[in-house]
Every structure is written in structure tokens, then in C-alpha cells.
């Protein structure tokens, strides 16, 4: 996991996978509703997030996340846990 979490990096990662401009990836948007992500896109996104942030992100977990800020909070929480450890 990177030393410091930068939201810009998550924007760029998701934008690359979903084929949208990074600016469209904002805290209050939904991958499915706003960025037209289908189930295949989400599987690809999970793999990319797991690789970049060295976390495990079960599909059920991502499905519970309504907007991108939910994912961001999940990553911040994992990051904090790692710093404490």
C-alpha cells in the first residue's frame, strides 16, 4: 500500500478501467449508476484496487458500497490499520 493515500490516484485508476475522464470519478458518484459500470467492470476494478492497495476487497463488499466515498473510506480505514500495525 502507498505511504499516503491520494484520491487523485484512485480517480485515475477507476477512470482507466471504466473509460471515463478522471474528473467524473468523484466522492458522491456511483460506479454503476453514474459511470455505467457493469458487473464485468466491477470485477476488473476489484482486481486493480487489490493490486494497487494490497487489500482484499470481496465482491460483496464492493456491492454494498453505494458511492465512491464508501470505497475511499474503506481504503482509508485499511491504510490507518496498517499504519498502526
Amino acid at each position: 500500500m502507498p505511504d499516503k493515500l491520494e484520491f487523485r490516484e484512485l480517480q485515475e485508476l477507476a477512470a482507466e478501467i471504466l473509460g471515463v475522464e478522471p474528473e467524473r470519478v468523484q466522492m458522491n458518484v456511483s460506479f454503476q449508476r453514474d459511470l455505467a459500470a457493469d458487473s464485468l467492470d466491477l470485477v476488473e476494478l476489484i482486481a486493480a484496487i487489490e493490486d494497487k492497495y494490497e487489500v482484499e476487497l470481496p465482491e460483496e463488499e464492493l456491492e454494498k458500497m453505494k458511492v465512491i466515498s464508501d470505497l475511499w473510506q474503506f481504503l482509508e480505514q485499511k491504510h490507518a490499520q496498517r499504519l498502526e500495525a
Binding site: I17, L18, G19, L40, E44, A47
Partner: protein
């Protein structure tokens, strides 16, 4: 009963993504100038490969034809097919979205499908485990997806599938698409083939069967059909797509008819996995059926675009077959293998070469067989050696033969004045 149901099939559009250009005029210019598309393989390290050359597509930007997300999520061969289809529809002035969904169908044939994508996902599996297999692996690898993608993006909702017959795939695609129009199941068809197999596994596998040229130090001279020094085919890639239409439909809507797809014949060699029948027995029957269906006498044929892959056995067998079908006239008509220039597009080869027939008829110019320096005595026809030649041609045929012993011949005829 007239098997054509009184219908004739017009060619009204062509689209190209090929090693010798990604638009019609560039492709034609390189065909007639004999500018080879073959060079060193740059996609992967070929240090341990006996063949290090291929004809790669150059300067292709998928985002000229589709959005970025689509480009990311479809196989390379599907990108080629969608690009070529859009060009063909543009030339035909046909927009399937403006018609009934059943009016326009699509056949995109591929010999293999998304090979690069299969290989990448297999590598991910071996190195990083099952959860790193791309979820797009299946849609990227299956050989029917070209037809599916083209329909989704052009709104052509008629008959939709792929035909797999190796290097004859798009010869069959054109012929079967014409039959669909003749039997009334569509007014128009987007038909052709797409292939993208310049990959580590495919190239290695072809090296192992000694099917590909090893003339690595002179790539542009490697594909030399009918020459004594030929040593195998050269892998190419790309897509060529046709718009075929019911001739009456094309005339009613004021489309420019480039040529008529007048006949089609298909057969099997019944002989061997990879070797052609030594006397071209299957090829003879395919050519004869195609001429019969077109109502064309052998003496009317002025040009044959040969399958001519530059293999030792294939070029001789095809020459024998042509002599059997055409008799004395075999020595009057012109034969060329444009594979010498664009190399072997496998599942797109038949469409590429039928397109060369359309353009040769339309423009009154026969594209040459390049690298024909010393003609094989067993290949004793007029192969239009090394230089294009002006000629008025009324009827041309394109031969396509595939591993498995599949043969397809299509007959292309000059259109009557509108």
C-alpha cells in the same frame, strides 16, 4: 427452381484495417505499387523464434471508431472488425439504424479469435492466480464476438454469426452472406473477416509446423508465391469488411455499385489437417461450383486472385487446380497472389483478396505478385510478376483455402451500367 430467387448481390462498400493501410486508397496504392507490409515482429521478443517477421497493422487508432471503454474491453480482432465495418458502411452510404433491424445482418469470420487475450489471461492465471484472470477474457477470446460487436455498434440486427474455416473463413463469410441476401433473410449484409494472431503462442505454433517463412533478414521479400525460393507463408493481421446488398435494393436507394458478387462455391479436400490435396481436388470443385452458380463460362474469367500463400505444396496444387478448371484458358487469364504484398490475413484473407478483385475490376488494373524473381517450373501460369498491369476484366475469382481442407471461391463481376 432458380437458386438465386431472382436476386443478385451487389458490393457497395469496403473497409480495411490491414498491414498495407487502414483505408481503401492507401491499400490500393500499396497493392498496385507492390509495397510490402512485412517487417520484423515488434509485439514481443522473437529471439528464440525461427520466424521473426510478420505483417503488422500500423498506425491503427481504435478510438477513431469507438469509445475508449469499448476499445479496452474488446479483442484486437474485434477492434479491427468494427473499424473496417464503419468504413464499409460509410462508403456504401448505409446506416442500419435507419432501417428495420432485420434488414442488415453481419458475418465477421475469424480463423482463431482473440488469441492475444487468451494468452494474456493464461499468463495472469499461471503467474498470479485465478482471481487475476480478466473478466473480459471470454468476450475477448470467442471467435463470434466480432459479429456481435459490429451489430451492437452499428445497429445491424439481421442474421449474426461467425464462420470458422481457418484461412478460408472470410471467403465463406462473403459467399454465405450473399446466400442470405438471395434467400431473402436480409436486404444487406456486412460480411468479411478479422484476425489478430501475431502473438507469442500462435507464432511459435506456426514455427513448429514449419509453415512460416524464415527469411528473417529480408522481411519484405519473404512472401514470394510461385517463386522457387519460397519457404512458407508470412503471418498478417487485420480486417476487411464488405457491404453486400440485394442489387435492386442498392439501385432503389441510389447506391453506387462497385461490383457484383455473382457466385460462390465451397468444398472440402477430405485429405489432411494442414497439407492441401496434391492435385487441388477440393479447390477444383469449389471453383467449378462458383462459376456454375454465377452462370459464368471459364473463358469469361480474366483474373484470379489466388490463395497463393507462398508454401511449397499449396502454390503448386492451386496451379494444377486452375489448369484443370480452365484448360487452355488458364494460360490466357492472369493470376496473382496479393499475399506477396499484404501477407496472410488468415480469417480476413478471403475478404482482403475478394476486395482486391473488386478494385482490380473497377479500376482496370491487376495487382502484381511481388518477389517473383525465379518462377517455379511447376507454377507455369501468368502470375502478373512484380509490376501491376492495366487490364479490362469483366469477371474475377478469389480462392481461399483453409487448414482442415476447407475451400471457398467467390466470383466477382463488373456491374452492368446503372
Amino acid at each position: 427452381m432458380n437458386p438465386n430467387n431472382g436476386r443478385r448481390v451487389a458490393v457497395t462498400g469496403l473497409g480495411f484495417v490491414t498491414p498495407i493501410g487502414n483505408d481503401l486508397e492507401t491499400v490500393w496504392s500499396n497493392l498496385v505499387e507492390g509495397v510490402s507490409g512485412v517487417g520484423p515482429i515488434t509485439y514481443f521478443d522473437t529471439a528464440t523464434y525461427s520466424c521473426k517477421i510478420a505483417a503488422q497493422v500500423k498506425g491503427f487508432d481504435p478510438e477513431l471508431y469507438m469509445d475508449r471503454k469499448t476499445a479496452r474491453h474488446i479483442g484486437r480482432y474485434c477492434q479491427f472488425a468494427l473499424a473496417a465495418s464503419r468504413q464499409a458502411l460509410d462508403q456504401a452510404g448505409l446506416d442500419p439504424a435507419q432501417l428495420d433491424p432485420d434488414d442488415v445482418g453481419v458475418i465477421v469470420s475469424s480463423g482463431i479469435g482473440g488469441m492475444e487475450e487468451i494468452e494474456k489471461s493464461h499468463t495472469a492465471l499461471m503467474q498470479r492466480g485465478v482471481r487475476r484472470i480478466s473478466p473480459f477474457t471470454v468476450p475477448m477470446m470467442i471467435a463470434d464476438m466480432g459479429a456481435g460487436i459490429v451489430a451492437m455498434h452499428t445497429k445491424a440486427g439481421g442474421p449474426n454469426f461467425a464462420i470458422a474455416s481457418a484461412c478460408a473463413s472470410s471467403g465463406h463469410a462473403l459467399g454465405e452472406a450473399a446466400e442470405i441476401i438471395k434467400r431473402g433473410d436480409a436486404r444487406a449484409m456486412l460480411a468479411g473477416g478479422a484476425e489478430a494472431t501475431i502473438t507469442p503462442l500462435t507464432m511459435g505454433a506456426f514455427c513448429q509446423i514449419k509453415a512460416v517463412s524464415e527469411r528473417n533478414d529480408e522481411p519484405e521479400k519473404a512472401c514470394r508465391p510461385f517463386d522457387v525460393d519460397r519457404d512458407g507463408f508470412v503471418m498478417g493481421e487485420g480486417s476487411v469488411m464488405f457491404v453486400l446488398e440485394d442489387l435492386e435494393f442498392a439501385r432503389r436507394r441510389g447506391a453506387r455499385v462497385l461490383a457484383e458478387l455473382a457466385g460462390y462455391g465451397a468444398s472440402a479436400d477430405m485429405h489432411h489437417f494442414t497439407a492441401p490435396h496434391p492435385e487441388g481436388a477440393g479447390a477444383i470443385r469449389a471453383m467449378r461450383k462458383a462459376l456454375t452458380r454465377a452462370g459464368v463460362q471459364p473463358e469469361e474469367v480474366g483474373y484470379i486472385n489466388a490463395h497463393g500463400t507462398s508454401t511449397k505444396l499449396g502454390d503448386v496444387a492451386e496451379t494444377k487446380a486452375i489448369k484443370e478448371v480452365f484448360g487452355e484458358h488458364a494460360h490466357q487469364l492472369a493470376v496473382s497472389s496479393t499475399k506477396s504484398v499484404h501477407a496472410h490475413l488468415l480469417g480476413a484473407a478471403g475478404a482482403m483478396e475478394a476486395a482486391a478483385c473488386v478494385l482490380a475490376i473497377q479500376r482496370g488494373m491487376l495487382p502484381p505478385t511481388i518477389n517473383l524473381d525465379r518462377q517455379d517450373p511447376d507454377c507455369d501460369l501468368d502470375y502478373v510478376p512484380n509490376h501491376a498491369r492495366p487490364a479490362e476484366v469483366g469477371v474475377a475469382i478469389s480462392n481461399s483455402f483453409g487448414f482442415g481442407g476447407h475451400n471457398a471461391t467467390v466470383v466477382i463481376r463488373k456491374p452492368e451500367a446503372n
